[in-house]
Symmetry: D3
Subunit: 228 residues, 6 copies
């Protein structure tokens, strides 16, 4: 993994319908459904409020200050993909802007997750092309050093293989490994239906202490109540 | 202070009316009225633009990666309270989401200030439940290690006692010790009426240099004017 | 440079019309037109979405925790200026709020770029006075230690001379040295017209790989395509 | 608390002998003996390897970029004290150098803990005057704005009252509230004697899994062993 | 991958002799020999100057504020291993100290790489047990929440599989995938012998511009020389 | 300024003797002698304790992840120079190692100040070639994108012109503009002789409050003394 100078083609993707259905549950429920794993670090933020996207990952490994491989990646995009770009070292340059977005969108991409900077956020917002990035930065990049496309990458602390499912929204970004996608969707559905009931009870004044039966465990752990 | 494993009940609160009136002056004026102290560090940000809340503090001391005590705190909330959650070490996990928000809101809480992460921000925004947090993060937490409720805590660099007044808005969060609440309100009212006049003068072109009589002090300090 | 205790008056400014026209191209295109330089670090963010401003720089050198010099700077503002405030050491205090904004606006300022904190963001938003700052913070400042006005300053990593052109928008902030302003405007115009065509081609499905003729260079650099 | 412009004199201190004995146990054991609380954030680092100090706290509240109050604090130092300096906002200026160190040492201070910067580290190392700081920085400070001495302060995230015990070493800094000092010393002694035996067993190859009897709890929590 | 609650036993390791020989080349040469990949982020620092270690990875996935799995990992250590500990979210607590070090050392571990905090650094230095950590911190941790042992982990931005080779020294930490270990060793040997000659030439005054034949490429790229 | 793709030759340097004499006063005294300006941000740290250097600046503007221009700079070094390297965006890659150090040393360089990463720190320490960097990092860089040599640069927040004097030691790095070098040396000498007397007085127990005559100003500012 982490090969430099390679583009893998015809990558096997998770089922697109699974990716789409997971979007409805959101990043928080999805990561809980996987066993509370898979979230990218919270410094990745959407460039506009209300951004939401899911898809199958086309991965890109960039070099700092260089966005050449994003152009190479464009050709590998299939409708329903989401591009996930890592950088070999921390860099907040504006690797991505409205020209690449026009290209990615034309190829069918649902959005971009990039462990670097993004620019042209007003145009991207008008286009409705969502990006999750670690910075917004007008500074542009060179096209001089090779990286790779569709190799496994570590993006914002999380391993992503090409073809994995990405769920991104206001809360952040989660990666679901391809092999776990269907099972995660089922678990998310169960969890969500379960939460709906709980939400209603809590909203009507019930306490989690009672609803989850926590009082005994808290007491066993030594929690003391003291009157002031 | 900083006891672990204790919940203090029936904490004495500042007068709620004072908390409510301070909200109208905002966090900046409130902290000036106290003598320019009491602000939490600016990495705490509201999860949506326009968020505004004030109330009396129910304090929570959490352990990293663990939100058990938020459930314990829910029972201690009285209408008009605002929950202030500190963590024993820096952690950006999503300790709080829409289920807890439903519960807190049902108990009468006005909002949450948390020196950690928050999730479900879209739902929280729709519910109108304001949160000031150091991160937005889908990652969930365990319920396994005791902290405390209603002990003094240090939240985002500022000491908060249970019952203190919290004023939070677009600018950030300020804590007013209970014993200073009334006096601070009076000082805020004086300051605000004073500022209104100044604002008008400045808006019509007067210079602060003249209005505040700064020229002499600047000259005494050695300020020189040079023509280019 | 970096003299302490001096105010330079009657600073020579770039042509205001150039500053205004550059605003239409935005910060990203402007910095590309200069040869991909001049951007401030991306931790400077606008206090509200959609903020946009350009103008000629009145520079201010502040001391940490002290905004005295912003009052001194107000007198040096001419219509069409934008104030650029640096601090002698990193500080996120709320140096600037609605009173100073009322004064700056009355003098004709188009906005503020400050390598420190800002407060009263709700009022500033209502006034439509845009600020790019490294923090939003209710904490106020003293007026006790001299800095300077209209000396060259380093703001968010970028050198700014008084009279330089500043272009600031959603993407960030760029400084164009006065002597390069006209030439940069011409280059921006050429670049923008060039980009319009490209954007259309890419939006209709053309690949940058072909449009920019990158395939040969990528191959020469050793890029390999592998079927999965 | 957090009053500005006040110096409290004749503060009651913890017993100095307790402070001295705690130093032998170190910061890690001391904070465990308190119930795993009281550590300052780990960005505070000693200016030289092997630094170690303990004492009773003289507290100082500084303003950003201003070290006036350190001069005021010098007069309040008694032999066996350690100075703990907080700043009203984050600032890495070099507030403290060899002149103040000469003064503090002459008054009997054992060291300095400062939530800001320090300079003259070569001289301080030669003098054997230990400092725990958040930065080393040649930049000096003004003497223009009042803070306070011997008020409660929040230093690196931890509340410190004047007279509390401070234990600082290679690992970091811990504050033991005065009222808990003796009890903490006793608990530290017990813990240390307990650890000595454990350390020997572990060093001879015993597993913590067995020594602490963890296997059952791990299994109950669901830990599975899988052969590769 | 990233399973929670699993311990893989009898993991296949890279050849230990390869791990040992790579140590002599150091982390910088090793990562160059792999194609300039595999370095962990530079916030990982050795706890003492001169620290150096290599070995085969036993991986640990910790939860924030919890070191239970380090005890579980101890049993899986074989002589020549180096423990690599990731945390499911950023946390600087002191997960590791001298008791665990005694145990790890007794089992044959060569060191620890941890994307979290470490304590007891004086004892660890005396024991000669090297640790690369993101913080030094006296704060201890709980033993309450399951993680995993010998699953693939992302540590300081780099993917590590159990059995991979780790090379760590003053410069930082590099991970060499097991399958690439022998090939990397051979490339490192070639590179090193190559560099020795270059170093001598440069030390005697030769210019890299000439030695590497860079002048033509620089000129072709447009570099201009201007006399002042 | 900030031109890309240019090397200025035969730059006018400050007098070398002045640079050498300033080293004896150190970075803290030098910056005070200039009027408390000119310090680089404190994230720049020496790679070994006790590092000290001064010289005249050869400046380099690097691109992120690319050290080509350091090779170009080597040719411009004259004995007594110190190389100051800025990067067009934040990057912690290991731009500099022992090969370049051998070359720089052979050309007469006294050290390197780099707003990026450095590697081979053990070899550099053995060679006695001091480096002040923002990171230590084994990760290497490409040689593909042009920057510049001997243009004005902003390094760690401070403007440096080629030929300026750099003073670097344990405390950090200061830049003295060429035109101010002699005057700064004289002021440093006066300050140092002045400080020697003060240091002795303070070491014998005198208080700064009395020695500097601060009591009156403190009282006028409103400082109150309160008995506990």
């Amino acid at each position: 993994m982490h090969e430099i100078g390679v583009v893998y083609r015809n990558v096997e993707r998770a089922e697109r319908s699974v990716a789409e259905e997971l979007a409805a549950y959101g990043s928080a429920t999805t990561h809980e459904a996987m066993g509370r794993i898979g979230t990218m670090k919270p410094y990745l933020r959407p460039i506009y409020a209300g951004a939401s996207a899911s898809g199958t990952a086309v991965t890109v490994l960039l070099q700092p200050g260089d966005n050449w491989m994003l152009h190479v990646a464009a050709e590998q995009i299939e409708p329903g993909d989401i591009v996930v770009a890592a950088v070999t070292s921390d860099c907040t340059d504006g690797f991505f802007g409205d020209l690449l977005a026009a290209s990615f969108k034309a190829r069918g991409a649902r959005g971009l997750v990039i462990d670097g900077g993004c620019r042209d956020v007003r145009s991207l917002t008008e286009m409705g092309f969502p990006v999750w990035s670690r910075a917004v930065n007008p500074k542009g990049t060179a096209k001089a050093v090779l990286g790779s496309v569709n190799v496994p990458v570590v993006c914002a602390g999380t391993l992503v293989h090409p073809g994995d499912v990405i769920v991104a929204d206001d809360d952040g970004v989660v990666c679901v490994p391809r092999a776990l996608a269907r099972r995660t969707l089922e678990a998310a559905a169960r969890r969500e239906s379960n939460e709906r009931t709980k939400r209603e009870k809590l909203a009507s004044g019930a306490l989690g202490l009672d609803m989850y039966g926590m009082r005994e465990a808290l007491s066993a752990a030594g929690l003391r109540y003291v009157e002031r």
